[in-house]
Symmetry: C2
Subunit: 253 residues, 2 copies
């Protein structure tokens, strides 16, 4: 196994460039950590390059990642720190191809539509939660990069398994799906909106959740049924990701 | 208004010490940002010192914080960066006394019990969400410091408003409350556990959620009724904070 000792190695510089840009515009991403790399390998993601520190050479889990990778390099601790997005890196990284599967919408399915979610932790957590609830997929418009290191980590690997449909024109896209018979529900903070409980048991639905600070845009809200979480507390202060969790919980019923 | 220009000023060093230790062991905390400082002032928290950059001098919201603070100092941008826990600081900070209110348990109330929650973002989000759902309070055993900068920010000020009861001996504490007639429910990932829906409409209940990686300890689980979120997806992969959100949603019904 070839060992990389220089921080100026071209492969290391390329890997870091994927991290810096969040890999937007590239067809490859840099996955960090045992679990994320293992999730990529287990889900048939094309694994270009694996970088690992010496301690991983005999690890049984790491063996599967090594076996799945086209090329593998041993790296020193200081290179691991350069590649890392975390403070205490585990010392295992993979350059993977982004999944290229084209996801079609099941008009009898259950989807979460996200508009301008900007916090990587929120976006990743919503992917993880949507997968946990068995939703059909996420539709994302104007959200942060699904393959940035923080989103991938917060998703706990869901980014490699769960359908995320990138939407270019949200109005056209939603108009098409409602014309095809799907029901759109829009999460708002308004006392006279319908209760989130009406989502239970429905098929062919899309629940839209908006930006952390500004909520959903008016043009989306007017297309659907307004729903809200009716509670006795200070409901205006729900985090977008917590509100989405309640919506998905009712959808999954 | 006195202006502090040196990073070695004693007041600045003291403020930074509160940030570094997460203020554990001290009776004061360093709050950062307009919203958190305003929340502290609005909730009658004792405000020792306010530090702010020049741009805040004429801000109407900042005036309330200035009025509530015993002493106020103008700081230069580079001092703001030193005080800050965030990358892009707003330039307003307060040294506040920790709220000293002693919270008693309402045995007819609804509580979230947290065991060893270690992620500051999770802990703060759970406070915010518990407040949003109108719960009676949070009971915290072995959790990260409620007054660390990250927890305070994620709580969106709930840390200054919402009852958080620090528990020293969880077994004794819960034994006392169940003896007083409260019902304990323990969140687990087990298919044969009762559905989370049984929490709806109940009074005098405590729902326990455990550590992010290890869940609840056996000694707690054996004291209560095991509950779980029954869903078709990969429910094992719920984040502790998302699972707690669903629990609280049912409790608040």
């Amino acid at each position: 196994m070839e060992c990389i000792t220089s921080r100026n190695n071209e492969k290391i510089k390329y890997a870091c460039s994927l991290k810096k840009t969040g890999a937007q515009g590239s067809d490859a991403v840099l996955a960090e950590g045992l679990r994320l790399c293992a999730d990529a390998a287990a889900n048939g993601v094309e694994m270009e390059t694996c970088f690992l520190t010496a301690k991983w050479q005999q690890d049984p889990e790491a063996q599967k990642i090594i076996a799945a990778s086209r090329s593998v390099y041993l790296i020193e601790e200081h290179i691991s720190e350069k590649l890392a997005d975390t403070k205490h890196p585990q010392g295992i990284f993979c350059i993977c191809k982004k999944p290229t599967a084209v996801h079609t919408v099941d008009t009898k399915g259950k989807y979460l539509f996200l508009e301008n979610i900007r916090d990587p932790g929120n976006f990743g957590t919503m992917m993880r939660t949507a997968e946990a609830f068995g939703l059909s997929g996420i539709m994302a418009y104007g959200c942060c990069d699904a393959f940035s290191p923080k989103v991938m980590r917060a998703s706990m690997g869901a980014v490699f398994r769960f359908p995320v449909i990138e939407v270019a024109d949200e109005n056209d896209f939603l108009a098409g799906l409602t014309a095809a018979g799907m029901q759109l529900y829009c999460s708002v903070v308004e006392a006279d909106a319908a209760d989130v409980g009406i989502l239970a048991g429905k098929q062919g639905i899309i629940t839209a959740v908006g930006n952390e600070a500004n909520g959903l845009s008016e043009s989306i809200i007017t297309r659907g049924t307004r729903i809200t979480i009716h509670m006795s507390g200070r409901a205006e202060s729900f985090n977008a990701s917590q509100a989405a969790t309640v919506m998905m919980y009712e959808m999954a019923k």
